[in-house]
């Protein structure tokens, strides 16, 4: 690495570490996430100009905060002068005074956890469309650049840039307060936050588009967000449930890709390749979720199912009856045809293929599953175990036609070919 590129890498690393805290602390002061991000960006540009020549300062976070503070005060004073001319002394004037007096160092250290949590809730606010929440969260909380987010979601950079600009505008126009929701708002708003994190995770873990089976960068970003939330909102069982689910699923990352890049299904995976550190962390997070009061929620139940797999050293050791029962509970909390399908598969494993097929066949007319490749794929498996091979082959071919992922399609075709031998 040349000195220049090393300096550049160091500055990018500082940005990744400092930008969430910087933006959160600034947003708390100026009350506007979009403005806070601009101020942070400006400070970062100043760093890019100065640091390669002078070296990275000993306390880069404080340096960036000082630079952002100067800009924030300038901006608010300009706004104040304008308001005074118009004989309107508004909230901005007060904010400028407060800002001038504020101890930024304290803001960066004392209240930062709370500010970060506010930033998460704001980025995932329901006034925003789901894809805007995802983009803003990755941008503000993970320090990703617009280019990186665009690449991750396979959309043009200009589209992603516009999505982010519009999201910030929407927040400002709707006058979304920079706060942590309380009372009856908290549960649905937390649900929205967790949904964003899980969406990022899933897009990385089971890519819905493109030719690659997984995109590990997104998995890592989601894990980082989840682990962050577990620290910021430790009393929320579903936060730990989601972390557990993601840790346990990602423990299988290397095992679910074959040497040629092809997908390897859970029961065919070499379990020696499962990451023990992530399993341990996942089981610990699940324990934390279970230790908090209340019935298990959507994510904790799914994590409990993943834990059944993680605990089984060999596929035949899997406690399928428990998995079927957990899917039953999941169907109560969050009824959906996909959950019913998974329950049917678990029942098929626990109590035989005929029992499973009976449940799967009940889903045949389900409109939500009409284009869902896992329905014919699951049916094929049960039919094959019942010795009804030609029907199983036909179902696998149907599943392959429905799949949008190249790797998944190849796997389904391979299974169909194997049954015809």
């Amino acid at each position: 690495m040349t000195p220049a590129s090393a300096a550049r890498a160091a500055i990018e690393a500082v940005w990744r570490i400092e930008s969430p805290r910087l933006i959160a602390a600034l947003a708390r002061m100026v009350g506007d996430v979009g403005l806070a991000e601009e101020l942070a960006q400006d400070a970062f540009v100043a760093a890019l100009e100065q640091w390669p020549a002078d070296g990275v300062p000993d306390r880069p976070g404080a340096w960036l905060m000082q630079a952002a503070k100067r800009r924030a005060i300038d901006q608010l004073r300009r706004a104040e002068r304008l308001r005074l001319k118009q004989q309107v002394v508004g909230r901005d004037a007060e904010a400028a005074e407060e800002l001038a007096a504020a101890d930024f160092e304290a803001a960066l250290t004392e209240e930062i956890g709370d500010s970060l949590l506010r930033l998460v809730f704001t980025a995932c606010h329901p006034v925003l469309a789901p894809e805007a929440r995802v983009a803003l969260t990755l941008r503000l909380l993970c320090g990703l650049t617009t280019d990186e987010i665009a690449r991750a979601f396979l959309v043009p950079v200009a589209t992603m840039a516009q999505r982010i600009v519009r999201a910030k505008l929407t927040l400002a126009e709707a006058r979304v307060a920079f706060e942590v929701p309380a009372g009856p708002d908290l549960a649905p708003r937390l649900g929205a936050v967790l949904a964003v994190v899980y969406l990022v995770f899933n897009e990385g873990y089971a890519a819905s588009a493109g030719e690659e089976w997984m995109r590990p960068e997104l998995v890592n970003d989601a894990l980082r967000l989840g682990r962050m939330l577990a620290e910021l909102a430790p009393a929320e069982p579903e936060v730990h449930g989601l972390v557990a689910l993601m840790e346990l699923h990602s423990s299988r990352m290397t095992a679910r890709v074959g040497a040629g890049g092809e997908a390897v299904l859970l029961l065919d995976q070499d379990r020696a390749r499962w990451d023990r550190l992530l399993i341990r962390r996942g089981l610990a997070a699940l324990e934390r979720a279970e230790a908090l009061k209340g019935p298990l929620g959507l994510y904790s139940l799914q994590a409990a199912i993943a834990a059944c797999h993680a605990r089984a050293r060999r596929p035949e050791d899997t406690d399928w009856a428990r998995i079927a029962a957990l899917y039953d509970a999941l169907a109560q909390v969050s009824p959906s045809p996909v959950v019913e399908l998974n329950r049917a598969v678990a029942v098929g494993m626990a109590f035989g293929p005929a029992a499973g097929l009976e449940l799967v066949d009940r889903l045949a007319g389900e409109p939500a599953l009409r284009a869902y490749p896992h329905l014919p794929a699951a049916r094929a498996d049960l039919l094959a175990r019942l010795g009804r091979r030609p029907e199983a082959v036909a179902e696998l071919e149907r599943a392959a036609r429905l799949s949008h992922n190249g790797r998944e399609r190849a796997l389904l075709q391979k299974r169909a070919a194997a049954l015809q031998d």
């Binding site: 090393a6 890498a9 160091a10 990018e12 690393a13 500082v14 990744r16 570490i17 969430p20 880069p60 250290t109 930062i112 956890g113 970060l116 890592n220 894990l223 980082r224 967000l225 989840g226 682990r227 962050m228 939330l229 577990a230 620290e231 910021l232 290397t254 040497a259 070499d270 020696a272 390749r273 550190l277 962390r281």
Partner: protein, 130 residues
Amino acid sequence: MRFMIFIQPNLPPSTEDNLIPSRDAIETMSRYNRQLREAGVLLEVNGLHSPNEAVRISFTGGKPQVVDGPFAETKEMVGGYWIIDVKSKAEAIEWAKRCPVDPEGAIIEVRQIFEISDFPPELQEAVWLG
């Protein structure tokens, strides 16, 4: 990418058997650890008992020889370690620079942890045999 960060705190040689860090030192380190957790990068952290209790096993001609501490040279002895999950080596270095250590003489070492993809394909099978 996972990194292990070792701290060599540069403790002065001490005759005490088991040094327990002061409340101040513990709180300072806890604040740092909280920062790592709030950033979602901390996987594990552990502090190690005093170097005086360390045992060294040295090998000569294939023979292990056990030597009990304390040792005269404590400067390079590890006092604790973190495992962090970050985007790049540069990020690991930046986190390490933020560690609150003795301002004179402490050393922190940053080492990347092997991942399966770091091995050539023909060795990957062998890695998992254990």
